[in-house]
């Protein structure tokens, strides 16, 4: 494959150039500079698309393009030379194609959604920086530059979540997002530092090499093995950025931002970065034997978020929790050695989740509440929108089918593979012990919850009768427009499974695009330098894997059908009453709508603990150090001053008195004590 450095630099720099142009002059540009940002991401997309098809035709799983440049040096010692560089393998190409593609569509949609906002241009400015940072993160050749872009994205999400500055809640949500993710970030930074000290650099290739050579095995950090410590830090970074348990609390609040930015955060950038880090550091985690921890984190996140999504009343909240849940699947996949499937789920999820969020944006934008001056997000005020918004409905339906794991759609292909690998991992590799079964079971349970809450949302929004007549009548009938509908339909179309597996089913039969059949599995292999982590090859294991996948497919098909069926029974045909159920199970219902009390517990704890510490610090500083030690010493000096002043008064009588008292006491001392 011929990758030129110029091409890559164009891909990397275009969004940043667009950012700089818009940051300086969006107010003076025509259309407030939206075309600058759109061009700034469309150009990289076109280039990446070219590279993507080259990758497909080349079909080399070990393709690698690496180049590094010196950034600065502290001394001529190789440890003190800091490098920046580019690391492009198939993973990066697919990732970049997805990021630039999805971001382009989101940019285009934003020109519809944000139209008329007084800060229209500023929104595009941040979008450019955001996508630029994500592109930089994917291109990074080492963990330090990855971290730089990682944090830069944190800043962009902070700015975008707090975009509506008049809303006080936006300020709270943006602060919460930044600080929660920063918990993970700071730990990640420690991991990077530890690796740097012992490996001598943090470039991926050096880390892989050090792992392969085993030179890190006898290194320790505070009594823990270095590999374990570093891997743990990387996992913490992911927990923060990809909203995993227990730091998942920030992502649902992040929907305070404009909807296109939610789409960007939830799909193409930000949360994807955490999973991407795990994929890159996969051998580290595996060597550290932290797979089980990762699997548990993923499974717990998937389950908790899915259960909370069941009772959400806000359109975007349902989607936000579904993101958390799906990210849980990806992390679970990494834990159960489903490297390939996990990455595939990252890509498929990015596409259908972008579609879902943009569709939600389309719905919210159409439902304008004149009283608040805002779009309406509550599901309770929707219903029957299918007739008013047919195109949005179509796109959202496609994406919902995908996320629910219905055959022929992308979510089915990728999620099913994760579950199959999970089953194989717990049964085949680890002998079905209970400890290893739990994550898999949680994964399957979430697979029945997902279609239920997604179809609940679809039915409540688009089907049945409207529940807010005034709002419904106010809503204009949708006409096709390139910047509002086209992005949704493209994304909806790409939610078909065939693009990822070459076959309709994701299985060996129903192949309709043989030229790209299983390109994903063939090209994204877990090979890291000289470490090959492709899964087992013995015949017995292969057979076990096949049968596990077979079982998983059947089970998840049944689960999807059950979930969708119950959603229709409850909300469409209304054979069961959801109100009665929530009343009779109000304990569980409250527990779920209070988000398992996790949010409350964590936030209260943070407030209480930090208030405790800062009150102590304040008291200690004002009273102990300043008043007692510092001013106290001044008081002592002052006291001495008073005494001396009294003695040195200039009155002869006083001097004589002091002298007499002195002499008498001395004489008495001599008389009584000195024998």
């Amino acid at each position: 494959m011929n990758i030129g450095l110029t091409e890559i630099l164009i891909v990397f720099l275009s969004p940043f150039i667009a950012y700089i142009i818009n940051a300086l002059a969006w107010k003076k540009l025509p259309r407030h500079g939206d075309f600058v940002s759109i061009l700034g991401i469309a150009i990289p997309f076109v280039i990446m698309l070219g590279l993507f098809f080259q990758m497909l035709s080349l079909s080399d799983p070990n393709f690698l393009f690496m180049q590094s440049f010196e950034w600065f040096r502290l001394s001529d010692n190789p440890v003190d030379i800091f490098k920046v560089g580019i690391y492009i393998d198939n993973l990066a190409i697919v990732m970049l194609t997805m990021v630039t593609g999805v971001a382009t569509l989101i940019h285009i949609f934003s020109s519809y959604y944000m139209h008329g906002d007084p800060n229209y241009g500023r929104f595009f400015t941040y979008l450019s920086l955001f996508t630029g940072a994500m592109i930089g993160l994917v291109l990074s050749q080492n963990l330090l530059t990855l971290f730089i872009f990682w944090e830069l994205m944190g800043f962009c999400s902070y700015a975008l979540i707090g975009f509506y500055t008049e809303k006080d809640r936006a300020g709270y949500a943006s602060m919460k997002a930044f600080l929660t993710t920063r918990v993970g970030d700071v730990i990640l930074l420690l991991g990077i530092v530890a690796l740097w000290i012992h490996v001598g650099s943090v470039s991926y290739s050096d880390i892989y090499q050090a792992l392969a050579s085993g030179s890190l095995n006898d290194k320790h950090v505070l009594g823990f093995s270095l590999i374990g410590f570093a891997a743990f830090c990387m996992i913490c970074g992911t927990i923060g950025k990809s909203a995993q348990f227990p730091l998942q609390i920030w992502l649902p609040d992040a929907m305070m931002g404009p909807t296109p930015c939610s789409a960007l955060i939830h799909a193409a950038t930000m949360v994807a970065a955490g999973v991407y880090l795990l994929l890159r550091m996969y051998p580290l985690i595996h060597t550290a034997h932290l797979d089980l921890l990762v699997a548990y984190i993923g499974a717990i996140t998937a389950f908790i978020a899915a259960s909370i999504a069941l009772v959400q009343k806000d359109l975007k909240a349902v989607l936000a929790y579904s993101t958390v849940s799906q990210l849980g699947y990806m992390v679970l996949g990494i834990g159960v050695a489903a490297y390939n499937a996990s990455f595939m789920h990252l890509i498929t999820h990015a596409i259908f989740k972008a579609c879902l969020f943009l569709s939600a944006g389309s719905v919210i934008h159409s439902l304008h509440d004149d009283e608040t001056g805002d779009g309406v997000q509550e599901l309770a005020r929707m219903g029957g929108l299918r007739k008013k918004l047919p195109l949005t409905h179509l796109a959202m339906l496609l994406a919902t089918l995908a996320i629910s794991g219905v055959p022929f759609f992308s979510g089915f292909v990728s999620k099913d593979r994760i579950l199959g690998d999970a089953l194989f991992w717990s049964q085949g590799i680890n002998g079905g012990s209970f400890l290893y079964l739990i994550p898999t079971i949680l994964g399957f349970i979430s697979a029945v919850l997902t279609p239920f809450y997604m179809f609940r949302m679809m039915i409540l929004a688009f089907y049945g009768e409207t529940r807010d007549k005034k709002l419904y009548d106010h809503c204009h009938h949708e006409h096709f427009a390139w910047n509002s509908n086209l992005p949704l339909l493209i994304l909806g179309f790409l939610s078909l499974g065939v693009f990822f597996s070459g076959s309709l089913t994701g299985q060996s039969w129903g192949v309709i695009l043989p030229s790209i059949s299983e390109w994903f599995s063939k090209l994204m292999v877990p090979v890291f330098g000289s470490i090959n982590m492709a899964t087992a090859t013995t015949e017995v294991l292969e057979h076990a894997q096949h049968s596990a996948h077979h079982t998983a497919t059947l089970v998840s098909l049944a689960l999807a059908a059950t979930g969708i069926g119950f959603a229709f029974l409850f909300y469409f045909w209304k054979i069961f009453s959801s109100e009665n159920l929530s009343k009779s199970l109000h304990g569980i219902y409250n527990f779920l709508s209070e988000k398992w009390y996790l949010d409350k517990i964590l936030m209260t704890m943070t407030y209480k603990v930090s208030r405790f510490f800062y009150s102590i610090a304040k008291w200690f500083d004002n009273v102990f150090i300043d008043a007692i030690l510092v001013d106290g010493s001044a008081v002592l000096v002052n006291l001495g001053n008073i005494i001396l002043r009294y003695m040195q008064s200039g009155h002869i009588q006083r001097y004589v008195t002091v002298m007499v008292v002195g002499v008498v006491s001395y004489l008495m001392y001599l008389a009584y004590f000195v024998k």
């Binding site: 502290l74 010692n77 730089i148 500055t165 008049e166 600080l179 000290i197 510490f613």
Partner: protein, 512 residues
């Protein structure tokens, strides 16, 4: 020629200050002239500082030969007029001379006795340049102490409501600290036995005191320990290192904006510069022996400063405690005795100079409009709301400054904090990991402040403020540019200091 320019840089502000004294009237014409003379003088000083680079040999790790001079002054006591700079002191000179024209601009509307104000500011500039460029202990000490005079008057005359208390506290505290330093200097003078060189900082380096002891009564202690800790008190007060920091919040809160900027931007660095120039190179044995104490105190400052900042409701106090926290990182880097840690410390000195100056300038901008500094008033109402809607330009500059201060990658402080972590992690793993708490809470208090002030609907009062004017943008622009530029391309600054740092670190590698 270079040495002459260095002399000019040193004395030009002082001469201009004397020049201002010819204006005896306070007519608006004269006030205008006074301002312009101060501005031109400081700007010219800055240009001359840039000119010094032409004589600079980057690869030379020690004092630049082209930029140093020695003239015998009081020969009977071996006191010389010795000037000289290396990369580290140049970075500080650059920072100082960049901040002074900015400070003149930000004090443009000062009403109370402008002549004396600007004259004192210029006098202050000379004393600070003197500290960073003199290589003779006597001169160093003189400049160090002279610096207190303009500072005292600037705070006690132009300060806030409680200015005299703060000024006196500042004066006594730092003066008290420097007395210990004086004892150490006198000790060095007598113990070194180096004849005409006994007050030369550079000649004292190289383990001259390794085996010397000093008798305190019947108690014999190594001289290097004795002098190191005496110097430590003098410098730690200036840094300020926990528990010697309580003068700082008072001084900052009461000082006028320009003085706060200089105080946070440059004066605090005199303390860490003292470690770099005197304590560490002259007593490397003591530095190596007590590195754990230094890193620990640095760490305590980091965390303690962050928690104290979290408790503040006054903007200036909050930023003052953030300075305690950020200067703690410098001490952690210094104490690590490693290449990356020490480089990080020097960079952090520079970068904190930029970011804290920016924050104080912005507080000043707001204070000029509102005349209060409350984030949350004592009656629990918000001091400001919805600033970002009403003052978009101000908001952008504030965002840059805040994120520069909390060490966002891509802005300058990140590199220095990362280098400090990298340097300290190997020998002080646990302390470094705890230092990460400081990073976390560093973000917390700054964002808390931002959220309280900038979100929500603008209050009636806020609506009366005008956005930043051209003068304010003019003096913020170079700082914004520098924090972004050094965040992306730190190489120019690092290349300036790294040889000098390497030279210093070499002294420890033989010991550790």
């Amino acid at each position: 020629m270079g040495a002459i320019i260095l002399n000019l840089v040193l004395w030009l502000p002082m001469l201009s200050a004397l020049g201002l004294l010819i204006f005896t009237s306070q007519s608006s014409e004269d006030v205008k002239r006074i301002k312009w003379i101060s501005l031109i003088s400081t700007a010219f000083t800055f240009l001359l500082t840039l000119d010094l680079l032409f004589y600079f040999d980057f690869a030379n790790p020690s004092i630049q030969p082209a930029l140093s001079m020695t003239i015998p002054w009081i020969s009977s006591f071996h006191i010389n007029y010795t000037l000289g700079i290396d990369g580290i002191s140049y970075s500080m000179l650059f920072l100082n001379n960049l901040l002074f024209p900015i400070c003149i601009l930000c004090s443009w509307n000062i009403e109370k006795n402008p002549r004396s104000f600007f004259a004192l500011m210029l006098f202050l500039q000379t004393t600070i340049i003197g500290v960073f460029s003199s290589l003779d202990f006597f001169m160093f000490y003189c400049f160090w102490e002279f610096m207190l005079i303009p500072m005292f008057f600037l705070i006690s005359v132009w300060g806030g409501e409680n200015r005299e208390y703060a000024a006196t506290k500042f004066f006594l505290y730092t003066f008290g600290g420097s007395i210990f330093m004086l004892v150490a200097i006198i000790g060095i003078y007598f113990v070194s036995d180096a004849g005409p060189d006994s007050l030369n900082m550079i000649a004292m380096q190289g383990g001259l005191f390794a085996k010397k002891t000093i008798a305190l009564g019947s108690w014999k202690i190594p001289f290097s320990d004795f002098a190191f800790w005496l110097l430590f008190i003098g410098f730690a007060v200036k840094v300020p290192l926990f528990p010697f920091h309580t003068w700082l919040p008072h001084a900052h809160v009461q000082a006028p904006t320009a003085v706060s900027v200089i105080l946070a931007g440059v004066l605090l660095k005199m303390g860490t510069y003292g470690f770099l120039r005197i304590s560490y190179p002259i007593f490397p044995e003591a530095a190596a022996a007590y590195s754990y104490v230094i890193v620990l105190l640095g760490l305590i400052s980091v965390i303690y400063g962050a928690f104290c900042a979290l408790a503040q409701t006054d903007m200036k106090k909050l930023i003052a405690y953030s300075s305690v926290s950020h200067m703690g990182f410098v001490m952690m880097g210094l104490g690590s005795l490693s290449t990356s840690g020490t480089n990080g410390a020097v960079l952090q000195m520079f970068n904190h100079g930029l970011s804290s100056a920016m924050l104080f300038l912005l507080v000043g901008v707001l204070y000029e409009r509102s005349h209060h500094r409350w984030i949350v008033r004592p009656d629990h109402t918000l001091g400001y709301t919805g600033l970002s809607k009403h003052m978009p330009k101000y908001t952008i500059v504030m965002l840059i400054s805040l994120f520069a201060a909390l060490g966002l990658p891509g802005l300058s402080s990140f590199i220095s904090e990362f280098l400090i972590f990298l340097g300290a992690f190997k020998s002080f793993t646990l302390l470094t990991i705890l230092g990460a708490i400081g990073l976390l809470f560093g973000a917390a208090y700054l964002l808390w402040m931002y959220r309280r002030m900038f979100f929500g609907t603008p209050s009636e009062e806020v609506k009366t403020y005008e956005d930043m004017n051209w003068r304010e943008i003019l003096y913020m622009a170079p700082l914004c540019f520098l924090v972004i530029f050094l965040g992306i391309m730190p190489a120019p600054l690092i290349d300036l200091v790294r040889f000098s740092v390497e030279n210093l670190v070499k002294k420890f590698t033989v010991l550790v």
